[in-house]
Protein backbone atom coordinates (compact mmCIF):
# COMPACT_ATOMS: atom_id res chain seq x y z
CA UNK A 1 0.00 0.00 0.00
CA UNK A 2 1.30 3.43 -0.88
CA UNK A 3 1.79 6.02 1.79
CA UNK A 4 0.23 8.84 -0.19
CA UNK A 5 -1.92 8.17 -3.20
CA UNK A 6 -3.40 10.90 -5.35
CA UNK A 7 -5.40 10.32 -8.48
CA UNK A 8 -6.60 12.97 -10.89
CA UNK A 9 -6.14 15.93 -8.55
CA UNK A 10 -7.49 19.24 -9.83
CA UNK A 11 -7.29 22.62 -8.14
CA UNK A 12 -9.19 25.64 -9.39
CA UNK A 13 -9.07 29.22 -8.17
CA UNK A 14 -11.86 31.70 -8.85
CA UNK A 15 -10.44 34.84 -10.41
CA UNK A 16 -11.98 37.98 -11.88
CA UNK A 17 -11.55 36.52 -15.37
CA UNK A 18 -13.16 33.18 -14.58
CA UNK A 19 -11.83 30.01 -12.97
CA UNK A 20 -8.10 29.37 -13.18
CA UNK A 21 -6.93 25.79 -13.15
CA UNK A 22 -3.64 25.67 -11.22
CA UNK A 23 -3.43 21.88 -11.09
CA UNK A 24 -4.98 19.73 -13.80
CA UNK A 25 -5.27 15.99 -13.36
CA UNK A 26 -2.18 15.19 -11.33
CA UNK A 27 -1.72 11.64 -10.08
CA UNK A 28 1.07 10.43 -7.85
CA UNK A 29 2.06 7.74 -5.40
CA UNK A 30 4.71 7.68 -2.73
CA UNK A 31 5.78 4.53 -0.92
CA UNK A 32 7.49 4.26 2.42
CA UNK A 33 11.20 4.94 2.20
CA UNK A 34 10.89 6.44 -1.25
CA UNK A 35 12.12 9.82 -2.45
CA UNK A 36 9.91 11.46 -5.05
CA UNK A 37 10.91 14.74 -6.69
CA UNK A 38 8.33 17.00 -8.28
CA UNK A 39 10.12 19.34 -10.63
CA UNK A 40 8.79 22.22 -12.68
CA UNK A 41 9.22 25.89 -13.39
CA UNK A 42 7.34 28.59 -11.51
CA UNK A 43 3.61 28.34 -12.10
CA UNK A 44 3.70 24.62 -12.81
CA UNK A 45 1.46 23.91 -9.82
CA UNK A 46 3.97 21.80 -7.93
CA UNK A 47 3.52 23.54 -4.57
CA UNK A 48 -0.24 23.97 -4.96
CA UNK A 49 -0.77 20.26 -5.63
CA UNK A 50 1.01 19.35 -2.39
CA UNK A 51 -0.78 22.03 -0.38
CA UNK A 52 -4.05 20.72 -1.78
CA UNK A 53 -3.17 17.16 -0.81
CA UNK A 54 -2.53 18.37 2.74
CA UNK A 55 -5.69 20.48 2.79
CA UNK A 56 -3.79 23.69 3.45
CA UNK A 57 -5.28 25.80 0.69
CA UNK A 58 -7.75 28.61 1.51
CA UNK A 59 -11.46 28.05 0.95
CA UNK A 60 -11.31 29.98 -2.32
CA UNK A 61 -9.59 27.02 -3.93
CA UNK A 62 -11.76 24.26 -5.34
CA UNK A 63 -10.01 20.92 -4.85
CA UNK A 64 -11.28 17.74 -6.50
CA UNK A 65 -9.66 14.34 -6.72
CA UNK A 66 -10.77 10.82 -7.58
CA UNK A 67 -8.55 9.37 -4.88
CA UNK A 68 -6.73 11.19 -2.11
CA UNK A 69 -5.57 8.79 0.55
CA UNK A 70 -2.84 8.83 3.15
CA UNK A 71 -1.91 5.48 4.65
CA UNK A 72 -5.17 4.04 3.36
CA UNK A 73 -7.35 6.75 4.93
CA UNK A 74 -9.43 9.01 2.73
CA UNK A 75 -8.25 12.59 3.30
CA UNK A 76 -11.26 14.14 1.54
CA UNK A 77 -13.93 12.50 3.67
CA UNK A 78 -12.06 13.25 6.89
CA UNK A 79 -13.21 16.01 9.24
CA UNK A 80 -10.97 19.03 9.68
CA UNK A 81 -10.05 18.10 13.23
CA UNK A 82 -9.12 14.56 12.19
CA UNK A 83 -6.97 15.94 9.40
CA UNK A 84 -5.22 18.31 11.78
CA UNK A 85 -4.25 15.29 13.89
CA UNK A 86 -2.43 13.82 10.91
CA UNK A 87 -0.85 16.99 9.57
CA UNK A 88 2.22 17.97 11.55
CA UNK A 89 2.41 14.46 13.01
CA UNK A 90 2.31 11.86 10.24
CA UNK A 91 2.72 14.29 7.35
CA UNK A 92 5.12 17.16 7.92
CA UNK A 93 6.17 19.95 5.60
CA UNK A 94 9.24 22.12 5.21
CA UNK A 95 8.84 25.40 3.38
CA UNK A 96 11.06 27.42 1.11
CA UNK A 97 11.88 30.47 3.23
CA UNK A 98 13.25 29.15 6.52
CA UNK A 99 13.44 32.54 8.21
CA UNK A 100 9.94 33.56 7.11
CA UNK A 101 8.34 30.28 8.12
CA UNK A 102 9.41 30.55 11.76
CA UNK A 103 7.52 32.90 14.06
CA UNK A 104 9.84 35.81 14.93
CA UNK A 105 8.09 36.44 18.27
CA UNK A 106 8.91 33.10 19.88
CA UNK A 107 12.13 31.24 20.58
CA UNK A 108 12.89 28.29 18.32
CA UNK A 109 12.69 26.04 21.38
CA UNK A 110 9.12 27.17 22.07
CA UNK A 111 8.16 26.51 18.47
CA UNK A 112 9.52 22.99 18.38
CA UNK A 113 8.04 22.13 21.78
CA UNK A 114 4.67 23.47 20.61
CA UNK A 115 4.47 20.72 17.98
CA UNK A 116 5.23 18.12 20.64
CA UNK A 117 2.67 19.65 23.04
CA UNK A 118 -0.10 19.43 20.46
CA UNK A 119 0.64 16.01 19.00
CA UNK A 120 2.07 14.03 21.91
CA UNK A 121 1.36 13.64 25.65
CA UNK A 122 4.97 14.08 26.72
CA UNK A 123 5.66 16.02 29.90
CA UNK A 124 7.30 19.45 29.84
CA UNK A 125 10.66 17.93 30.78
CA UNK A 126 10.37 15.13 28.22
CA UNK A 127 9.46 17.65 25.52
CA UNK A 128 12.55 19.66 26.25
CA UNK A 129 14.75 16.55 26.15
CA UNK A 130 13.20 15.53 22.85
CA UNK A 131 13.82 19.03 21.43
CA UNK A 132 17.48 18.85 22.45
CA UNK A 133 17.75 15.39 20.90
CA UNK A 134 16.18 16.66 17.66
CA UNK A 135 18.52 19.65 17.49
CA UNK A 136 21.45 17.29 17.90
CA UNK A 137 20.19 15.01 15.13
CA UNK A 138 19.99 17.90 12.65
CA UNK A 139 23.45 19.10 13.59
CA UNK A 140 22.82 22.29 15.56
CA UNK A 141 25.73 22.89 17.97
CA UNK A 142 24.97 23.70 21.67
CA UNK A 143 21.30 22.64 21.49
CA UNK A 144 20.54 23.61 25.12
CA UNK A 145 21.63 27.17 24.47
CA UNK A 146 20.15 27.34 20.96
CA UNK A 147 16.65 26.43 22.19
CA UNK A 148 16.45 29.85 23.82
CA UNK A 149 17.37 31.75 20.66
CA UNK A 150 15.02 33.67 18.40
CA UNK A 151 14.96 33.03 14.63
CA UNK A 152 16.69 36.35 13.86
CA UNK A 153 19.72 35.23 15.89
CA UNK A 154 20.31 32.30 13.56
CA UNK A 155 21.49 32.07 9.95
CA UNK A 156 19.32 30.83 7.09
CA UNK A 157 20.92 27.40 7.14
CA UNK A 158 20.43 27.08 10.92
CA UNK A 159 16.78 28.16 10.59
CA UNK A 160 16.25 25.51 7.93
CA UNK A 161 17.72 22.95 10.34
CA UNK A 162 15.25 24.12 12.99
CA UNK A 163 12.43 23.70 10.46
CA UNK A 164 13.60 20.17 9.68
CA UNK A 165 13.86 19.35 13.39
CA UNK A 166 10.31 20.67 13.92
CA UNK A 167 9.01 18.64 11.00
CA UNK A 168 10.69 15.49 12.33
CA UNK A 169 9.49 16.06 15.91
CA UNK A 170 6.75 13.42 15.76
CA UNK A 171 8.56 10.95 13.48
CA UNK A 172 6.40 11.62 10.41
CA UNK A 173 5.75 8.89 7.88
CA UNK A 174 5.84 11.38 5.04
CA UNK A 175 7.89 14.54 4.75
CA UNK A 176 7.13 17.12 2.08
CA UNK A 177 9.98 19.54 1.42
CA UNK A 178 8.92 22.53 -0.69
CA UNK A 179 12.09 24.03 -2.24
CA UNK A 180 14.06 23.27 0.93
CA UNK A 181 17.35 24.74 -0.28
CA UNK A 182 16.41 27.45 -2.78
CA UNK A 183 17.23 30.32 -0.44
CA UNK A 184 20.55 28.83 0.69
CA UNK A 185 24.17 28.88 -0.50
CA UNK A 186 25.52 25.86 -2.39
CA UNK A 187 27.70 24.67 0.49
CA UNK A 188 24.77 24.94 2.92
CA UNK A 189 22.47 23.38 0.32
CA UNK A 190 24.75 20.35 0.20
CA UNK A 191 24.69 20.04 4.00
CA UNK A 192 20.89 20.31 4.17
CA UNK A 193 20.32 17.82 1.34
CA UNK A 194 22.77 15.36 2.88
CA UNK A 195 20.99 15.77 6.22
CA UNK A 196 17.56 15.20 4.65
CA UNK A 197 18.77 12.08 2.85
CA UNK A 198 20.44 10.74 5.99
CA UNK A 199 17.33 11.27 8.13
CA UNK A 200 15.12 9.85 5.39
CA UNK A 201 17.19 6.66 5.31
CA UNK A 202 17.30 6.40 9.12
CA UNK A 203 13.56 6.84 9.65
CA UNK A 204 12.52 5.12 6.41
CA UNK A 205 10.06 7.92 5.68
CA UNK A 206 8.55 8.80 2.36
CA UNK A 207 9.99 12.08 1.11
CA UNK A 208 8.57 14.41 -1.51
CA UNK A 209 10.95 17.12 -2.68
CA UNK A 210 9.43 19.97 -4.64
CA UNK A 211 12.05 21.87 -6.60
CA UNK A 212 12.86 23.71 -9.80
CA UNK A 213 16.53 22.81 -9.58
CA UNK A 214 17.59 19.86 -11.72
CA UNK A 215 20.74 19.57 -9.60
CA UNK A 216 18.71 18.92 -6.45
CA UNK A 217 16.70 16.29 -8.32
CA UNK A 218 19.86 14.55 -9.51
CA UNK A 219 21.28 14.51 -5.98
CA UNK A 220 18.24 13.21 -4.11
CA UNK A 221 15.39 11.58 -6.00
CA UNK A 222 14.48 7.96 -6.71
CA UNK A 223 11.57 8.86 -8.92
CA UNK A 224 10.75 12.17 -10.66
CA UNK A 225 7.56 13.82 -11.84
CA UNK A 226 7.92 16.72 -14.28
CA UNK A 227 5.10 19.26 -14.26
CA UNK A 228 4.28 22.13 -16.58
CA UNK A 229 1.39 24.58 -16.16
CA UNK A 230 -0.41 22.30 -13.73
CA UNK A 231 -0.15 19.16 -15.82
CA UNK A 232 2.03 16.13 -15.45
CA UNK A 233 4.42 15.88 -18.38
CA UNK A 234 6.58 12.92 -17.48
CA UNK A 235 7.11 10.42 -14.72
CA UNK A 236 10.25 8.30 -14.61
CA UNK A 237 12.93 6.99 -12.29
CA UNK A 238 15.75 9.47 -11.92
CA UNK A 239 18.28 7.62 -14.04
CA UNK A 240 16.05 7.17 -17.07
CA UNK A 241 14.87 10.77 -16.78
CA UNK A 242 18.38 12.14 -17.07
CA UNK A 243 19.78 9.53 -19.48
CA UNK A 244 16.80 9.17 -21.80
CA UNK A 245 14.09 11.81 -21.26
CA UNK A 246 10.97 10.93 -23.22
CA UNK A 247 8.93 14.11 -23.47
CA UNK A 248 9.98 17.10 -25.56
CA UNK A 249 9.66 19.40 -22.56
CA UNK A 250 12.02 17.41 -20.33
CA UNK A 251 14.51 17.20 -23.19
CA UNK A 252 14.33 20.95 -23.66
CA UNK A 253 14.68 21.59 -19.95
CA UNK A 254 17.75 19.38 -19.62
CA UNK A 255 19.39 20.89 -22.68
CA UNK A 256 19.00 24.37 -21.12
CA UNK A 257 21.29 23.39 -18.24
CA UNK A 258 24.56 25.30 -18.57
CA UNK A 259 26.42 22.06 -17.69
CA UNK A 260 25.10 20.40 -20.81
CA UNK A 261 25.92 23.30 -23.12
CA UNK A 262 28.29 22.45 -25.92
CA UNK A 263 28.77 25.76 -27.73
CA UNK A 264 28.75 29.43 -26.83
CA UNK A 265 24.98 29.64 -26.78
CA UNK A 266 22.54 27.70 -24.66
CA UNK A 267 19.71 26.00 -26.51
CA UNK A 268 16.39 27.66 -25.70
CA UNK A 269 13.97 25.16 -27.12
CA UNK A 270 11.22 25.86 -24.59
CA UNK A 271 10.93 29.36 -26.07
CA UNK A 272 9.83 27.88 -29.38
CA UNK A 273 7.60 25.14 -28.00
CA UNK A 274 3.91 25.97 -27.70
CA UNK A 275 1.85 24.73 -24.77
CA UNK A 276 -0.01 22.37 -27.11
CA UNK A 277 3.24 20.79 -28.27
CA UNK A 278 4.44 20.36 -24.69
CA UNK A 279 1.17 18.77 -23.57
CA UNK A 280 1.04 16.56 -26.69
CA UNK A 281 4.53 15.28 -25.88
CA UNK A 282 3.56 14.37 -22.33
CA UNK A 283 4.51 10.84 -21.32
CA UNK A 284 2.67 9.35 -18.37
Amino acid sequence: MSLLEVKNLTVEFQTASGPFRAVDGVSLKVDEGEVLAIVGESGSGKSVSMLAAMGLLPWTAKVTADVLTFNGRDMQAMSDSDRRKIIGKDIAMIFQEPIASLNPCFTVGYQIEEVLRIHTDLSRKARRDRAIELFQSVGIPNPEERLGHFPHQMSGGQCQRVMIATALACNPKLLIADEPTTALDVTIQKQILDLLMKLQAEHGMGLIIITHDMGVVAETADRVIVQYKGRQIEEADVLSLFSAPKSVYTKALLSALPENATGERLPTITEKLTDAEIFAGAVR
Partner: protein, 276 residues
Protein backbone atom coordinates in the same frame (compact mmCIF):
# COMPACT_ATOMS: atom_id res chain seq x y z
CA UNK B 1 45.79 47.97 -23.90
CA UNK B 2 44.61 49.41 -20.61
CA UNK B 3 42.12 47.19 -18.87
CA UNK B 4 38.58 48.56 -18.49
CA UNK B 5 38.67 47.91 -14.78
CA UNK B 6 41.66 47.49 -12.54
CA UNK B 7 41.54 47.15 -8.78
CA UNK B 8 44.59 47.18 -6.55
CA UNK B 9 44.29 46.04 -2.98
CA UNK B 10 40.70 47.22 -2.67
CA UNK B 11 39.34 47.47 0.87
CA UNK B 12 36.02 48.44 2.35
CA UNK B 13 35.21 48.82 6.04
CA UNK B 14 31.80 49.49 7.50
CA UNK B 15 31.70 51.34 10.81
CA UNK B 16 28.88 50.38 13.11
CA UNK B 17 28.42 53.19 15.63
CA UNK B 18 28.37 52.16 19.26
CA UNK B 19 25.51 52.85 21.62
CA UNK B 20 25.06 52.96 25.36
CA UNK B 21 25.23 49.19 25.53
CA UNK B 22 27.48 48.29 22.62
CA UNK B 23 30.95 49.49 21.72
CA UNK B 24 31.54 50.74 18.17
CA UNK B 25 32.59 48.07 15.72
CA UNK B 26 34.31 47.98 12.36
CA UNK B 27 33.38 45.30 9.85
CA UNK B 28 35.98 44.55 7.20
CA UNK B 29 33.69 43.56 4.35
CA UNK B 30 36.37 43.47 1.64
CA UNK B 31 39.94 42.95 2.77
CA UNK B 32 42.30 43.87 -0.04
CA UNK B 33 41.21 42.46 -3.38
CA UNK B 34 43.11 42.97 -6.64
CA UNK B 35 41.96 42.09 -10.14
CA UNK B 36 41.65 43.45 -13.66
CA UNK B 37 39.26 42.95 -16.53
CA UNK B 38 40.10 43.55 -20.18
CA UNK B 39 37.57 44.90 -22.65
CA UNK B 40 35.07 42.33 -23.94
CA UNK B 41 35.90 39.85 -21.18
CA UNK B 42 33.87 38.52 -18.30
CA UNK B 43 35.13 38.26 -14.74
CA UNK B 44 32.98 36.08 -12.53
CA UNK B 45 33.01 36.60 -8.78
CA UNK B 46 31.88 33.58 -6.79
CA UNK B 47 31.29 33.17 -3.08
CA UNK B 48 28.68 32.48 -0.43
CA UNK B 49 26.40 35.09 1.08
CA UNK B 50 28.25 37.55 3.28
CA UNK B 51 31.61 37.06 1.58
CA UNK B 52 31.72 40.65 0.28
CA UNK B 53 30.86 40.13 -3.36
CA UNK B 54 28.01 42.60 -3.35
CA UNK B 55 30.10 45.14 -1.44
CA UNK B 56 32.68 44.78 -4.18
CA UNK B 57 29.94 45.36 -6.77
CA UNK B 58 28.88 48.54 -4.96
CA UNK B 59 32.44 49.85 -4.99
CA UNK B 60 32.94 49.07 -8.67
CA UNK B 61 29.63 50.77 -9.52
CA UNK B 62 30.76 53.78 -7.48
CA UNK B 63 27.80 53.55 -5.10
CA UNK B 64 30.01 53.03 -2.04
CA UNK B 65 33.35 54.78 -1.54
CA UNK B 66 36.56 52.80 -1.27
CA UNK B 67 38.19 52.69 2.18
CA UNK B 68 41.65 51.87 0.91
CA UNK B 69 43.31 50.88 -2.35
CA UNK B 70 43.03 52.06 -5.93
CA UNK B 71 40.38 51.53 -8.53
CA UNK B 72 41.07 52.47 -12.14
CA UNK B 73 38.32 52.61 -14.73
CA UNK B 74 39.66 52.95 -18.27
CA UNK B 75 43.01 53.79 -16.72
CA UNK B 76 41.57 56.68 -14.71
CA UNK B 77 41.69 56.65 -10.95
CA UNK B 78 38.30 56.91 -9.29
CA UNK B 79 37.61 57.74 -5.69
CA UNK B 80 34.16 59.10 -4.90
CA UNK B 81 35.22 59.93 -1.36
CA UNK B 82 37.68 62.53 -2.76
CA UNK B 83 35.86 64.04 -5.72
CA UNK B 84 32.18 64.05 -6.71
CA UNK B 85 31.19 61.66 -9.44
CA UNK B 86 30.79 63.16 -12.92
CA UNK B 87 28.01 62.15 -15.29
CA UNK B 88 30.66 60.85 -17.66
CA UNK B 89 32.07 58.43 -15.08
CA UNK B 90 28.63 57.38 -13.97
CA UNK B 91 27.67 56.37 -17.47
CA UNK B 92 30.73 54.19 -17.83
CA UNK B 93 29.66 51.64 -15.24
CA UNK B 94 26.12 50.33 -14.91
CA UNK B 95 24.58 47.59 -12.82
CA UNK B 96 21.86 44.94 -13.16
CA UNK B 97 20.42 43.65 -9.90
CA UNK B 98 19.35 40.20 -8.85
CA UNK B 99 15.64 40.61 -8.35
CA UNK B 100 13.88 42.08 -11.39
CA UNK B 101 10.69 42.35 -9.31
CA UNK B 102 12.33 44.77 -6.90
CA UNK B 103 14.64 46.75 -9.14
CA UNK B 104 12.03 48.32 -11.43
CA UNK B 105 9.79 51.10 -10.13
CA UNK B 106 6.22 49.74 -10.30
CA UNK B 107 4.76 53.24 -10.85
CA UNK B 108 6.80 53.99 -13.94
CA UNK B 109 6.19 52.87 -17.49
CA UNK B 110 8.95 50.92 -19.22
CA UNK B 111 9.62 53.91 -21.48
CA UNK B 112 10.17 56.21 -18.49
CA UNK B 113 12.40 53.63 -16.81
CA UNK B 114 14.58 53.42 -19.91
CA UNK B 115 14.81 57.15 -20.60
CA UNK B 116 15.49 58.20 -17.01
CA UNK B 117 19.28 57.57 -17.14
CA UNK B 118 19.44 59.79 -20.23
CA UNK B 119 17.49 62.59 -18.54
CA UNK B 120 19.79 62.55 -15.54
CA UNK B 121 23.15 62.14 -17.22
CA UNK B 122 22.86 63.61 -20.73
CA UNK B 123 21.34 66.54 -22.62
CA UNK B 124 19.68 64.34 -25.24
CA UNK B 125 16.35 65.87 -26.41
CA UNK B 126 13.08 64.08 -25.71
CA UNK B 127 12.37 62.67 -29.14
CA UNK B 128 15.83 61.19 -29.42
CA UNK B 129 15.52 59.68 -25.95
CA UNK B 130 12.38 57.96 -27.12
CA UNK B 131 14.05 56.67 -30.27
CA UNK B 132 16.97 55.31 -28.32
CA UNK B 133 14.71 53.57 -25.83
CA UNK B 134 12.70 52.01 -28.68
CA UNK B 135 15.89 50.76 -30.32
CA UNK B 136 17.15 49.34 -27.04
CA UNK B 137 13.87 47.49 -26.42
CA UNK B 138 14.36 45.67 -29.71
CA UNK B 139 18.00 44.94 -28.90
CA UNK B 140 17.07 43.08 -25.74
CA UNK B 141 14.34 41.08 -27.45
CA UNK B 142 11.29 43.11 -26.46
CA UNK B 143 8.91 45.00 -28.74
CA UNK B 144 8.03 48.65 -29.31
CA UNK B 145 4.53 48.09 -27.98
CA UNK B 146 6.07 47.38 -24.56
CA UNK B 147 7.19 51.02 -24.26
CA UNK B 148 4.01 52.23 -22.55
CA UNK B 149 3.48 49.26 -20.23
CA UNK B 150 4.13 48.90 -16.52
CA UNK B 151 6.58 46.40 -14.96
CA UNK B 152 3.81 44.26 -13.42
CA UNK B 153 2.63 43.35 -16.92
CA UNK B 154 5.87 41.46 -17.60
CA UNK B 155 7.24 38.08 -16.61
CA UNK B 156 10.46 37.75 -14.61
CA UNK B 157 12.60 37.10 -17.67
CA UNK B 158 11.13 40.07 -19.53
CA UNK B 159 11.71 42.32 -16.52
CA UNK B 160 15.32 41.27 -16.38
CA UNK B 161 15.55 42.21 -20.07
CA UNK B 162 14.17 45.65 -19.18
CA UNK B 163 16.74 45.99 -16.37
CA UNK B 164 19.52 45.08 -18.81
CA UNK B 165 18.14 47.56 -21.36
CA UNK B 166 18.13 50.31 -18.72
CA UNK B 167 21.74 49.56 -17.82
CA UNK B 168 22.76 49.79 -21.49
CA UNK B 169 21.01 53.10 -22.23
CA UNK B 170 24.14 55.13 -21.41
CA UNK B 171 26.45 52.96 -23.55
CA UNK B 172 28.50 51.80 -20.57
CA UNK B 173 31.95 50.28 -20.86
CA UNK B 174 31.46 48.01 -17.90
CA UNK B 175 28.36 46.18 -16.77
CA UNK B 176 28.15 44.79 -13.25
CA UNK B 177 25.70 41.89 -13.09
CA UNK B 178 24.75 41.04 -9.51
CA UNK B 179 23.22 37.52 -9.68
CA UNK B 180 21.24 38.44 -12.81
CA UNK B 181 19.75 34.99 -13.44
CA UNK B 182 19.39 33.42 -10.01
CA UNK B 183 15.75 34.53 -9.64
CA UNK B 184 14.80 33.09 -13.03
CA UNK B 185 13.54 29.70 -14.21
CA UNK B 186 15.91 27.38 -16.02
CA UNK B 187 14.65 27.98 -19.56
CA UNK B 188 14.39 31.74 -18.99
CA UNK B 189 17.87 31.74 -17.46
CA UNK B 190 19.22 30.24 -20.70
CA UNK B 191 17.54 32.99 -22.74
CA UNK B 192 18.95 35.79 -20.57
CA UNK B 193 22.45 34.27 -20.62
CA UNK B 194 22.29 34.09 -24.42
CA UNK B 195 21.14 37.70 -24.57
CA UNK B 196 24.07 38.78 -22.39
CA UNK B 197 26.50 36.91 -24.64
CA UNK B 198 25.03 38.53 -27.78
CA UNK B 199 25.16 42.02 -26.27
CA UNK B 200 28.75 41.49 -25.18
CA UNK B 201 29.73 40.61 -28.76
CA UNK B 202 27.80 43.50 -30.26
CA UNK B 203 28.90 46.32 -27.93
CA UNK B 204 32.28 44.90 -26.82
CA UNK B 205 30.98 45.06 -23.28
CA UNK B 206 32.97 44.08 -20.24
CA UNK B 207 31.15 42.14 -17.55
CA UNK B 208 31.70 41.68 -13.85
CA UNK B 209 29.39 38.75 -13.22
CA UNK B 210 28.52 37.96 -9.62
CA UNK B 211 27.01 34.56 -9.00
CA UNK B 212 26.90 31.62 -6.65
CA UNK B 213 25.91 29.18 -9.39
CA UNK B 214 29.09 27.53 -10.60
CA UNK B 215 27.50 25.93 -13.66
CA UNK B 216 26.47 29.37 -14.91
CA UNK B 217 29.92 30.78 -14.13
CA UNK B 218 31.64 27.99 -15.98
CA UNK B 219 29.48 28.73 -19.01
CA UNK B 220 29.91 32.51 -19.17
CA UNK B 221 33.20 33.53 -17.51
CA UNK B 222 36.67 34.15 -18.91
CA UNK B 223 38.25 34.72 -15.51
CA UNK B 224 36.99 33.58 -12.13
CA UNK B 225 37.61 35.01 -8.68
CA UNK B 226 36.49 33.07 -5.60
CA UNK B 227 35.86 35.16 -2.49
CA UNK B 228 35.70 33.93 1.07
CA UNK B 229 35.21 36.22 4.09
CA UNK B 230 36.22 39.34 2.17
CA UNK B 231 39.33 37.90 0.63
CA UNK B 232 40.00 36.61 -2.86
CA UNK B 233 41.14 33.07 -2.16
CA UNK B 234 41.41 32.06 -5.78
CA UNK B 235 41.83 34.10 -8.95
CA UNK B 236 42.66 32.88 -12.42
CA UNK B 237 41.32 31.94 -15.80
CA UNK B 238 38.23 29.77 -15.91
CA UNK B 239 40.16 26.68 -16.97
CA UNK B 240 42.75 27.18 -14.23
CA UNK B 241 40.19 27.61 -11.46
CA UNK B 242 37.85 24.83 -12.59
CA UNK B 243 40.60 22.49 -13.73
CA UNK B 244 42.96 22.83 -10.81
CA UNK B 245 41.47 24.56 -7.77
CA UNK B 246 44.13 25.45 -5.18
CA UNK B 247 42.30 26.73 -2.11
CA UNK B 248 40.37 24.35 0.13
CA UNK B 249 37.28 26.58 0.03
CA UNK B 250 37.15 26.40 -3.79
CA UNK B 251 37.35 22.63 -3.55
CA UNK B 252 34.51 22.57 -1.00
CA UNK B 253 32.47 24.77 -3.31
CA UNK B 254 32.98 22.44 -6.27
CA UNK B 255 32.21 19.38 -4.18
CA UNK B 256 28.97 20.97 -2.99
CA UNK B 257 27.69 21.79 -6.47
CA UNK B 258 25.07 19.23 -7.52
CA UNK B 259 26.08 17.08 -10.47
CA UNK B 260 23.54 16.26 -13.12
CA UNK B 261 25.50 13.80 -15.25
CA UNK B 262 24.21 10.27 -15.53
CA UNK B 263 27.34 8.67 -14.03
CA UNK B 264 27.04 10.75 -10.85
CA UNK B 265 23.38 9.78 -10.47
CA UNK B 266 24.19 6.12 -11.03
CA UNK B 267 26.94 6.28 -8.38
CA UNK B 268 24.56 7.92 -5.90
CA UNK B 269 21.89 5.26 -6.43
CA UNK B 270 24.52 2.54 -5.91
CA UNK B 271 25.60 4.17 -2.62
CA UNK B 272 22.00 4.37 -1.49
CA UNK B 273 21.38 0.71 -2.23
CA UNK B 274 24.43 -0.31 -0.26
CA UNK B 275 23.29 1.66 2.80
CA UNK B 276 19.76 0.30 2.65
Amino acid sequence: MTPVLEAKNLKRDYHIPGSLFKPAKTVHAVKGVSFKVEQGKTLAIVGESGCGKSTLARMVTMIDPITEGDMLIDGRKVDIAQEPLTAEMRSKVQIVFQNPYGSLNPRKKIGDILTEPLIINTKVPADERRDRAMAMLKKVGLEEKHYGRYPHMFSGGQRQRVAIARALMLNPRLLVLDEPVSALDLSVQAQVLNLLADLQDEFKLTYVFISHDLSVVRHIADDVMVMYFGEAVEYGSRDQVFGNPQHSYTKTLFAATPRVDVDAIRARIERRKRVA
